[in-house]
């Protein structure tokens, strides 16, 4: 049995150089914990998409990750414009991303749908002109998956 672990990272809106740093750190921790490669990929792909979303759309954000024996829970909390219509944002192909974001290889409206396809539980709360909280959980054991 391992002790539950808590990780936290701060994000800066618009700073594409650092986008992915937090997910990279999370990947290192999961590897050390001997989580299987397929599960790690689902976690870090989702985490990276969520991280890019904050860098692309928000002013700042905080990532919190809690890991225990059964699961990883990730919260992506940002201060930003918020999502006026979450249902629309969940649709593949819908995007409000800027040309700068598209130049980085994102902004095609695939992020949130891609997260949804990889996680076990997903919850999105958003308030326009305040920010967005994306929460997801991925099981680390076969029973949870």
């Amino acid at each position: 049995m391992m002790e539950p672990m808590h990780l936290q990272y701060e994000l800066e809106g618009g700073n594409f150089t650092k986008a992915g740093f937090a997910s990279s750190e999370i990947k290192k921790v999961l590897k050390q914990l001997n989580v299987d490669a397929k599960t790690i990929k689902r976690i870090v792909v989702s985490s990276y998409e969520a991280e890019v979303n904050i860098v692309a759309h928000a002013y700042s954000g905080i990532i919190n990750a809690w890991i225990d024996n059964e699961k990883i829970v990730l919260h992506f909390n940002d201060k930003g414009p918020g999502i006026p219509d979450i249902e629309m944002a969940m649709q593949a192909g819908y995007s409000t991303a800027s040309p700068a974001v598209r130049e980085m290889g994102f902004g095609a409206g695939m992020g949130l749908p891609n997260i949804k396809n990889n996680v076990d539980l997903l919850e999105i709360n958003s308030e326009v002109n305040k920010g967005t909280l994306v929460k997801f959980t991925i099981g680390l054991t076969p029973e949870m998956n």
């Binding site: 150089t17 986008a19 992915g20 990279s24 990929k41 990276y48 980085m104 695939m110």
Partner: protein, 114 residues
């Protein structure tokens, strides 16, 4: 196909990484859209891209892609090389277009993901 062979077929240049004793590459995917790359479940693919940014390396890191080929002779930054080295990702660059690069690899038996 060995990365060494890919390198020869494309007249490519090794930007970083050791390509002599590498594992077999069976599949390739060509895209400039990183979100699309992030949807691929298959492991051990080679990524062909014209997107020469740090996010291409990050995407490879998250997707367990161990080799990226940059097409059209794009300039790879020091920052990208460093991140690639940290993650044991081989970077190649070639002068050919994405179309020609894909065509050569496809005709030599590298499989598409879809």
């Amino acid at each position: 196909m060995k990365i060494q062979k890919i390198n020869e077929l494309l007249n490519a240049e090794v930007v970083c990484g050791e390509i002599t004793n590498d594992s077999e590459i069976a599949f390739a995917f060509a895209s400039d859209l990183m979100s699309e790359v992030l949807t691929i479940k298959k492991d051990g693919i080679v990524l062909l891209t014209g997107l020469c940014t740090i996010q291409a390396i990050r995407t490879a890191e998250m997707s367990d892609i161990h080799c990226i080929i940059f097409v059209r002779g794009k300039k790879v930054s020091e920052e990208m090389i460093e991140l690639a080295k940290e993650n044991n990702i081989i970077l190649l660059k070639c002068q050919y277009s994405m179309f020609k690069t894909s065509g050569i690899l496809y005709s030599e038996g590298v499989q598409p993901v879809y």
